[in-house]
């Protein structure tokens, strides 16, 4: 269990929180899972985050958890990204058919080209995503002298903006492409896909925007609620509610 515990999102999040509080360390602190458990007694909400990561290494998990918490901070709209399941979602996608390149044309020869033709690397999305994480973290250390997860939320936000705008360069990986065409898309999916994929926990983002989810049999609603608030938007139902 040791390795799995190390990569649990909740634990990594606590580790990061500890880092932000001033106990920064490049070596993962040996926090036992019982601490996490004691800090927050297990509930339904916590069960998903106690499942070990299926693709991300400890370092990658630290990066992704920090990233989703910067992109989705805890606020009046939702809990932080890790607690919304966003890191879990990204991890599962990388471990699954998407990460392995299902449906992607992977024959050579491989050449780089215009962005509009899509990314051309022979890496699978999982490998490309991880190469980008390593490259971004290395760039972060070069720029700030610390890893991405150790940046203050403001600095981390600025760093992502620079990556997005192609102002952070790596010799091998196009970090703007990595962020805009892979990471950002995964982030949005993590927020808004059906909760059964691990993100959007308790349909928190559907509630936030007022998307009612399933079953969506609206023959009468389309007339009744034309131009009016739709009551079902407050309590969205997902696929899991019907299985």
């Amino acid at each position: 269990m040791g390795e799995e515990e190390k990569t649990s999102p909740r634990r990594s999040f606590l580790k990061k929180a500890a880092g932000l509080a001033g106990a920064a360390s490049l070596v993962p602190a040996p926090v036992s899972s019982s601490v996490a458990t004691a800090a927050a007694p297990p509930s339904e909400a916590d069960s998903a985050s106690s499942v070990p990561y299926q693709s991300l290494s400890a370092d990658e998990a630290t990066f992704i958890e920090a990233l989703v918490n910067v992109m989705c901070p805890a606020d009046e709209h939702s809990p932080n990204g890790v607690d919304c399941g966003l890191a879990t979602y990204i991890d599962r996608q990388l471990a699954g058919p998407y990460g392995k390149g299902a449906g992607r044309y992977q024959q050579g020869p491989f050449r780089s080209g215009k962005l509009e033709l899509g990314w051309q690397t022979p890496l699978t999305p999982e490998e490309f995503c991880k190469a980008g994480i390593a490259a971004a973290d290395a760039a972060c250390v070069r720029q700030h002298g610390k890893s991405f997860a150790e940046l203050s939320p403001t600095d981390a936000d600025e760093f992502l903006k620079a990556v997005q705008a192609d102002r952070v360069r790596d010799e091998a990986v196009s970090l703007s492409l990595w962020f805009n065409d892979v990471i950002y898309r995964l982030f949005v999916e993590a927020c808004f896909a059906d909760p059964m994929y691990g993100g959007n926990r308790h349909a928190v983002f559907w509630k936030m925007i007022g998307y009612p989810g399933l079953p969506a049999t609206h023959t009468l609603d389309v007339v009744r609620y034309r131009g009016k608030p739709y009551p079902g938007a407050k309590n969205p139902k997902s696929i899991g509610d019907f299985t």
């Binding site: 449906g103 899509g118 049999t217 007339v223 696929i239």
Partner: protein, 586 residues
């Protein structure tokens, strides 16, 4: 080694809409038909049942029903000077796979085109003079007329139970319909879909500007409907899962709902799924197609299927590719302007403006694929182009078709892409915004064409199809001009916030969905020098080979392309009955 099968009367490549319509006509006369479809049958699978049908990630984002790009994709370069690269994951357009083809996952917008579309070159020349059409724009008449196709439009609309409001019945303009509509013999089979809140706002604004808004013609069924063949559609649920999805409620007219169930009961009809056609066998000296070669994907066995008649009814791209692979017809060469196969490859010119209203509940999730409200004043040649630096135009639509949250959210300009401000804007505007969309024509350009890629192959070892394509000056100018009209309409709605008003910009980007409306490559026309097939869709170099689909359009109009191709397919079915009786150039 390929195994040779017993000869069939008619073999159809592809099991989508055109194949279903051609087969309906032929099998009604007892003519033997074999359809070869590379995909599987979606009926009763998870994609066609609740709750899993409502899975945006699986079907829409991960393209669960689409062509498997791992096996076959397309390559692209924006100009001949560039090197092509394979599109390793295509977002721009989405060919289907499986019984029903792309028409099983369509939104259902089913237009007749302008009366002058089949004679577009003549129309522009007579209205603006011969010099009005630029030398690099090879527009051409189709060799048929709207009048010849009208009975088949009528039949298709009744078979598919379309919902809409006629604008022009036998020349009499109808209030509430499209006054620019080509004359039709009859009202739509069903009343229009319910109007959306966005449609109400758009209606008031466009009427105020003197325009004539009308409901988008829809294959989403406004009521319970039984078609002339006895097949049924249920009433639409406005669930917002049409395009990229199978309608589990049987409320969207599709080939798998309304054609194949009937065909399967008819003697002489057979559909073979997981049968990937590798090529059309062609006897060059006799100028005849002798059959097709296909790979049975389950066994890996290759078969030679002889046939009296071969009908190519696959997706636009596949029709063109199979002709090129078979060496049937002269490939188009843009340098010499000789040749025809791959010529006049066109797409659709899209742009739009987002509008945001604090106090109006748009509720985008209460919608069907075609709950749009449209004006046609600035489409095609419905307005005077004198003095304008372009030809063509666009239909303008208050386009609310779904509220699926991964892809269908808008935020005002300047909103950050993440963080608390992003969440706030997303929460504030999701139910209070919509897009006013311009769906524009795309006319042929001598440098936009299809050929075989010299470097990349599909999973079966055959060359991929290469697109040499970009949006050219005519389309960019048209888009900019029409989008300014969209902006004026949006202003008239007095939104609290408006998105940016800018026409389409190049280059063509495969990473963004635009439409699946790609056309051309095997175009129709009056003579072999300028077309692949005759006005009866008969190949000039093989009289027993027929091609049908949007690949035969010499240009793309400012409408969805399904209506005319359905009419052409039904007419082809009738033409083939005549051909079977007495084979000849029709």
């Amino acid at each position: 080694m390929a195994k040779k099968l017993a000869k069939r009367a008619v073999v159809v490549v592809g099991g989508g809409l055109c194949a279903g319509l051609v087969s309906r006509q032929l099998t009604a006369r007892g003519i033997d038909v074999l359809v070869l479809e590379r995909g599987s049958d979606h009926a009763n699978a998870a994609e066609a049942r609740l709750p899993n049908q409502r899975d945006e990630l699986r079907w829409a984002v991960r393209q669960g029903l689409m062509q498997n790009w791992q096996r076959e994709t397309y390559t692209l370069r924006h100009s001949r000077a560039e090197e092509s690269l394979p599109i390793r994951w295509m977002e721009a357009f989405l060919p289907g796979e499986g019984v029903g083809g792309a028409a099983s996952h369509w939104n259902g917008c089913a237009w007749r085109w302008s009366e002058y579309d089949p004679t577009l070159r003549s129309r522009y020349e007579s209205r603006y003079g011969k010099a009005a059409i630029p030398a690099d724009m090879p527009l051409q008449d189709w060799g048929t007329t709207y009048g010849e196709l009208e009975p088949y439009h009528d039949l298709f609309e009744k078979l598919f139970g379309l919902s809409g409001k006629a604008g022009n019945i036998k020349g009499a303009i109808q209030p509430g319909g499209d006054p620019f509509e080509a004359p039709r013999r009859d009202e739509y089979p069903q009343k229009p879909l319910e109007i959306s809140e966005a449609g109400s706002l758009f209606t008031a604004a466009t009427q105020g500007l003197g325009f004539h808004p009308f409901p988008q013609p829809a294959a989403n069924s406004s009521g319970n409907y039984r078609n002339p063949d006895g097949l049924a559609l249920s009433q639409c649920q406005y669930c917002g899962h049409c395009e990229r999805f199978i309608c589990e409620a049987h409320a969207k007219a599709t080939p798998d709902t309304l054609l194949y169930p009937l065909l399967r009961t008819r003697p002489g009809f057979e559909i073979r799924t997981q049968a990937h056609v590798l090529g059309v066998s062609y006897d060059r000296s006799a100028k005849r197609a002798t059959g097709v070669r296909f790979l049975d994907l389950a066994s890996g066995q290759e078969y030679e299927q002889p046939a009296d008649i071969v009908v190519m009814a696959a997706f636009t791209m596949t029709n063109t590719r199979l002709l090129l692979l078979g060496g049937i017809g002269e490939p188009y060469n843009p340098a010499t302007r000789r040749g025809v196969v791959g010529k006049n490859f066109c797409y659709q010119t899209k742009s739009g403006v987002n509008v945001f209203f604090n106090d109006r509940w748009i509720n985008p999730f209460l919608a069907a694929g075609c709950t749009g409200t449209v004006i046609d004043e600035f489409n095609n040649d419905n307005f005077d182009h004198s003095g304008l630096p372009f030809l063509g135009g666009a239909s303008i639509t208050a386009a609310v078709s779904n509220g699926r949250p991964i892809r269908s959210r808008s935020t005002p300009p300047g909103t950050p892409r993440w963080g608390t401000a992003w969440k706030k804007a997303t929460a504030d505007w999701y139910a209070h915004s919509f897009l006013v969309d311009a769906q524009g024509s795309c006319y042929p350009h001598r440098e936009n064409f299809l050929d075989l890629d010299p470097a990349y192959n599909d999973a079966y070892g055959q060359p991929l199809l290469r697109m040499t394509f970009d949006f050219r000056e005519n389309e960019l100018r048209m888009s900019e001009w029409v989008t300014q009209k969209v902006g004026e309409i949006c202003k008239a709605m007095s939104p609290d916030i408006m998105g940016s008003v800018a026409g389409l910009k190049g280059p063509f980007d495969t990473r963004q969905y635009q439409t699946t409306h790609i056309t051309g490559g095997t175009i129709m026309g009056t003579e072999p020098k300028v077309s692949v097939v005759s006005p009866h869709l008969q190949h000039w170099d093989a009289e027993n080979l027929f091609v049908v689909g949007a690949s035969v359009y010499p240009h793309n109009s400012g409408y969805n392309p399904t209506g005319p191709l359905a009419a052409l397919a039904l007419r082809l079915g009738d033409d083939l009955i005549r051909y079977v009786e007495r084979p000849r150039m029709l």
